[in-house]
Amino acid sequence: MSEPAIRLTGLRKSFDAVEAVAGIDLDIADGEFFSMLGPSGSGKTTVLRMIAGFELPTAGTVTLAGRDVTRLAPFDRDVNTVFQDYALFPHMTVQQNVEYGLRVRKVARAERRERAAAALRTVRLEGYGERRPSALSGGQRQRVALARALVNRPAVLLLDEPFGALDLKLREEMQVELKAIQREVGITFVFVTHDQQEALTMSDRVAVFNQGRIEQVDTPAEVYERPGTPFVAGFVGTSNLFEGETAHAVLGREGVFSVRPEKIRLGGAPASAEEISAAGQVVEVIYAGAATRFVVDLDAGPRVVAMQQNHQTSPADVAALRGKPIRLTWRAEHVVAVPVSPR
């Protein structure tokens, strides 16, 4: 197997007394779309900045394609970054912004023109070359930032919450586009986000960060279906966690278990070998367009959330359930054991 595009070994970073990154080991394969997911302050952005070279690690190494770059300046690393605030040069046109990296590297004028045009084509901004960034919309600026990074054909593209400032609709469009572009250019993307939905939709693999450590690295499906830790179970999507006594009372098992809300049905038969069932009372009904969320206090103790697609029901029907007793059912295979310590 060839060298990984990025290898992080024992990476640590402290700001004064605060340990932002507390020891990270990670391999990211060539051509992979890799997401770093975590709440703010979990260290994901710091890790990205150490890969880019904006921060020097307190300990550990950063290796890019087998080359130790830990102590190298940003301009000596074959990576490019798309910044959260885009960081477009306001005094340059779009064309000049995109050409900047090439100009710095003394690429001939004709080639520069050609490559910049191609990059702008890739992000669907042909004909915008002469504009200033201030004359562009947020989504367009985002694409210019992308083109400015891609035009250099880096081995790795780093994206620091690039869609943070966009509205939901634009954000979803850009997610699709970005994925398409990544497939087209075929380089490694490292994508930092706090939005689990975004991470799950686009990534080949996801690393979930918490308090300067990685809790789990896996495919989106694995991360979602088989959360490696209680934190992952709670952070990625919504989970009903059963532990200790409640696990015993409801599931009849010892340990920590997770059941996703959408796996729980309302009503159904009593418990069997394949199905688990529990009685309780509906405390709250939350209408959410495509689905409805039910908050239920189980007789056995814990409060759980169940989600129901609004196939046939009307908002009035479901609202009527509030305060009523109810039976919940889910399949035994959907009870996922959650290891207490990271794998």
Partner: protein, 291 residues
């Protein structure tokens, strides 16, 4: 029900007539602007057209361009004007060269605490008297003084003269250059510097292509201060300038010694004119918005 008092009626009348209210509020500052400020400038220009009767010492209030004719035809006024311009330009250039790295360090390198201390350190000299600072420099530049010693012995330094004038003026006006540049750099997002480095730009490149173009308005704003202050100075040059004379000295000499206010006024229009040209020239750069 009792009738409303006159005061009540006045205040409700004022409430209905917002224009009058505004006029009432602004009249004092506007009066200041037009009478005290623009008025005095107007008087300057008008009195430049008068002359002094050398027999009685009284002002002759008959418009004539005699003063301006003298200024334009006598070579010495041209020489002094050019010298003053040269000094102002040199001081501005020196201050830009010193202020750029200092302001950059303050805004982008120093810790927030160090930044505060540096700002205070830069502002502190402004609290000391201008005269005291100029005299301190006179001692430093004296024969065998610290500056001579730096150059390797008595008499090796610049001594008093044009060089000393430029040096001391650069020192005096430096804060007026650092502060606008510092403010400009503070507004420059760090991510732009990182983006430039990320795209392969080393320090020099980043400075030339990203930092400098973005703080040009700040530099120009600072230069307006250093340039106009240098152009109007007459005290520093008296103290360390040796036999050098600048426009300010001529203005002062004509008011103080010769009792020739009209001629002083005519001389004083030279720097005013230069600054007007300068301001018009920089207007486009957006520097005026930095002030």
């Amino acid at each position: 029900m009792t009738a409303p008092s006159t005061l009540d009626r006045l205040s409700s009348w004022l409430h209905r007539h917002s224009g009058v209210r505004l006029a009432g509020l602004l009249s004092a500052p506007l009066l200041w602007l037009f009478v005290a400020y623009l008025g005095s400038l107007a008087v300057l220009f008008v009195s430049a057209l008068w002359t002094v009767n050398s027999f009685t010492g009284d002002l002759v209030r008959e418009p004539t361009f005699a003063n301006f004719r003298t200024i334009l035809t006598e070579e010495v006024y041209r020489t002094v004007t050019l010298r003053s311009l040269g000094v102002a330009a040199a001081v501005t250039v020196i201050d830009v060269l010193i202020a750029l790295p200092m302001a950059f360090f303050m805004a982008k390198v120093a810790s927030p605490r160090g930044r505060r201390l540096l700002v205070i350190a830069i502002l502190t000299p402004l609290w000391a008297s201008y005269l005291v600072k100029a005299y301190a420099w006179r001692v430093m530049l004296a024969n065998g003084g610290p500056v001579d010693w730096l150059f390797g012995g008595a008499g090796n330094g610049p001594g008093y003269g044009l060089t000393a004038t430029v040096l001391v003026l650069s020192y005096l006006w430096l804060p007026y250059m650092i502060l606008p540049i510092y403010a400009g750099l503070e507004r420059l997002p760090d991510s732009l510097l990182e983006a430039s480095a990320d795209l392969g730009g080393r320090g020099g490149r980043t400075f030339r292509s990203v930092v400098l173009p973005m703080i040009v308005p700040s530099v120009i704003a600072g230069s307006i201060f250093t340039f106009s202050l240098s152009l109007g100075d007459y005290i520093t040059v008296q103290i360390v300038g040796g036999k050098t004379q600048l426009i300010g000295n001529l203005v002062y000499a004509n008011i103080g010694a010769a009792n020739n206010l009209p001629f002083s006024a005519a001389l004083a229009t030279i720097p005013v004119l230069i600054m007007v040209i300068y301001l018009v020239a920089v207007r486009r750069s957006g520097a005026l918005e930095e002030l």
